[in-house]
Symmetry: C2
Subunit: 335 residues, 2 copies
C-alpha cells in the first residue's frame, strides 16, 4: 500500500487538510508545522496520487506531442531532436505523451481532461481540423514548424523560405544557372516555403523557371534517389540540385554516383535541415541548418508558461535558419 496524506496526517496528529496545505506551500499554514510535515512526508516516502489530484484539480498533468504522422514524411532525426528539445523542458512535472495525429479516427478522446496542453509539430493544412478541435476543446496549444492560417494559434517556426533562398543563391553565386529542385511532400507547409525561397532566388538572378527542373518527392531517401535519376535523364541535365531535406539529398547523391557521375564535380547537391550525419557524408553536405531542437524547446517553454501563468505569448515567433557551406556544392564544370 502506498502512503497517502491521511497516513501522514495520522502520524503528525493533524488533519489531512493541513498536510495538503503543507505540501502545496499554502500561505494558510504555520511555517514550522509545514516544515515538520514536509520532512515527515519525505521520510515516509510519500508521492502524490496524480489520479486523485487530477480529478479534483481538473488537470491531467499530460502534455501531448502530436506529429502530423509518425509514418511517412517524418524523418528520424527530426523526430529525435523534437522529442529531446521538449523533454529537456518538460522534465518530470508532466508526462510527455507522443502521438501521431493520423492515428486517430476522431478526436473525441482528446479533451481538456486528458491533456493540459498540446504541442503540435505540424506539417500541413491537413492538421487544421485537429487544431480546430483543440481550440474548440479549449486546450492550450502551440503549433511548431508551420504558420497556420485562419485559426488563432501560437506559432513557432523557422524561416524556411529565407533559408532556401540562401542556399540557392549560394549555388547561383558559384556560377550555376541550370538549377533543379527536388520537393518534399505536397501540401506540407515546409515544402511550400522552401519552394518559395527557391523561386525567388532564381527570379532575383533573372533565371527562368523550368518545369522539368522541378520534381516532386516525399522527404524520404528513396524518393530523393528516384527524383534525381529522373533529373539526370533530362537532355540538358541540371548542374546543381537543391533537395528540400537532407534525407533526400543523400538519396540524390547516391543516384548521381550510381549513374557514374561525381558530386560536386558533375552535379552539385544541397540539402536542408543539417541532420547529424550531413557533415560526415562524402562529400560533406552543404545544407541549411534548421534549429529544430531550439524550436521545440522554445515551444515547450511558451506552452508551459501559458498553462501555468495564463500568460499570453506573441502570435508567432521566427527562428533563424543558417546556411552551412560544406563540400557538395562547387563551381559547375566548364561547358
Amino acid at each position: 500500500m502506498n502512503v497517502t496524506i491521511k497516513d501522514i496526517a495520522r502520524l503528525a496528529q493533524v488533519s489531512h487538510t493541513t498536510v495538503s496545505r503543507a505540501l502545496n506551500d499554502s500561505p494558510l499554514i504555520n511555517s514550522e508545522t509545514k516544515e515538520k510535515i514536509k520532512q515527515l512526508a519525505q521520510e515516509m516516502g510519500y508521492t502524490p496520487n496524480f489520479s486523485a489530484k487530477s480529478l479534483v484539480m481538473d488537470r491531467s498533468y499530460n502534455i501531448g506531442l502530436f506529429f502530423s504522422t509518425l509514418n511517412t514524411g517524418t524523418s528520424a532525426g527530426f523526430f529525435y531532436e523534437t522529442v529531446r528539445g521538449i523533454n529537456s523542458v518538460v522534465k518530470d512535472a508532466y508526462n510527455l505523451v507522443v502521438r501521431g495525429i493520423d492515428d486517430y479516427e476522431h478526436y473525441r478522446s482528446i479533451h481538456r481532461k486528458s491533456f493540459d496542453g498540446v504541442i503540435v509539430m505540424s506539417q500541413s493544412a491537413k492538421d487544421d481540423p485537429f487544431l480546430h478541435h483543440l481550440s474548440e476543446a479549449g486546450i492550450p496549444h502551440i503549433v511548431l514548424n508551420r504558420k497556420v492560417e485562419g485559426l488563432k494559434a501560437i506559432n513557432i517556426l523557422s524561416d524556411d523560405s529565407h533559408g532556401s533562398y540562401r542556399v540557392v543563391n549560394h549555388m547561383i553565386k558559384k556560377g550555376h544557372r541550370r538549377i533543379a529542385i527536388i520537393s518534399g511532400k505536397q501540401n506540407f507547409h515546409s515544402t511550400v516555403e522552401r519552394r518559395d525561397g527557391f523561386v525567388r532566388a532564381l527570379q532575383d538572378a533573372g533565371i527562368e523557371l523550368k518545369e522539368s527542373y522541378q520534381v516532386g518527392a516525399s522527404y524520404d531517401l528513396k524518393s530523393g534517389y528516384t527524383a534525381m535519376l529522373q533529373l539526370l535523364d533530362l537532355p540538358e541535365r541540371p548542374t546543381a540540385v537543391f533537395c528540400m531535406n537532407d534525407d533526400m539529398a543523400v538519396g540524390a547523391v547516391k543516384a548521381v554516383h550510381d549513374a557514374g557521375l561525381q558530386v560536386p564535380g558533375d552535379v552539385s547537391v544541397a540539402g536542408f535541415d543539417d541532420s547529424m550525419f550531413s557533415a560526415y557524408l562524402s562529400p560533406a553536405l552543404t545544407t541549411v541548418k534548421r534549429p529544430i531542437e531550439e524550436i521545440s524547446r522554445q515551444g515547450a517553454l511558451v506552452l508551459l508558461e501559458s498553462i501555468e501563468q495564463k500568460k499570453l505569448a506573441p502570435d508567432i515567433i521566427y527562428l533563424r535558419t543558417e546556411l552551412v557551406v560544406r563540400e557538395s556544392v562547387a563551381e559547375p564544370a566548364k561547358a
Copy 2:
C-alpha cells in the same frame, strides 16, 4: 462542462451505476437498456474521465517507454523505430510516455499508480538500479535490447553476437586477415555482444587478436571518424574495419575518404543496425539488420498481455539478426 455518467443517468432515468455498467459491458444489465444507454452516451458525446477511473481502478493508463538516455549513445533512427513500433501496438488505449532514465535523480515518482507498465530500452547494466526499482514497485515491465542478469525480467532482444560473427566472417571469407573493430560505448550490452561475435569469428578462423586493432568509440558519427583516423595511422593498417553501428560506420567512411583512400578499394567497412540511410550511402553499407521495430512491437504486445491478462510470458525472446551484404566490403587489395 463535460458530460458525465450522471448526466446520462438523469436523461435515461436510471441510476449512474446502471450507466456505468452499460458502458462497461457488465453482464449485470439488460441488453436493451444497455444499448439504449450506449446510444445516448454516443449522442451526448460522452468521454470517460480517466482521472476518476484511474483513482478507483487503481490504474493510470500510462505506459512508460524509458531509454537509458536520450542524449548520447542513442541514435536517431533507433529512437524513431522504437517509438513507432510501440506506438503501433499501444494505440490510444494507453498514453505512451517517453523518458530518459538518466533524467531522474531518484525513482520515487515512478510507482504503480503512475505507470501501468514500463518498457525499458536498455543499453547497459547502469540501468539495473532502475530495473530493480521497477521490480520492487511491482510495476509490470519488459526489457528490450539487453539480457539482464540476476534480476527476473522479461527480455526481448536480437542475437547481436551472432550477427557480428556473421559480418566478420563475411570479411574473412572475402580474404581479409587484418580486421579491426570500432567499438560502441563501454558497458553497453550491445557493445559486449558485438565484440564477442567479432572475437569468435577471428578465433574460428585462427586469426590472432591484435590490441591495436580494437579501438573504443561511443556509437556516434564523430567517434567513428576519429577512431578510423587512429586505425589508418597504424604502421600496418587493417584492410577491413567492423563498426558496431551504422552511425560510426558513416564517420569511419568519411575518415577514409579524408585520408585520400577508398572504400572498399583500400579499406572495407561494415556497420550494424541497417539504418534507413545505409542502403543509400556510397558505397552502400554492408551491415547487419537488427529488427528494432519488431522487437519493440513484440515487447509492447507482451507487456500489454501481462498487464491485462496477467499472463506469464517466457523469460527471454531472441529475434534474429540478418546479414545485409552491400558494397562496402570487398576483397582486399593484393599485398
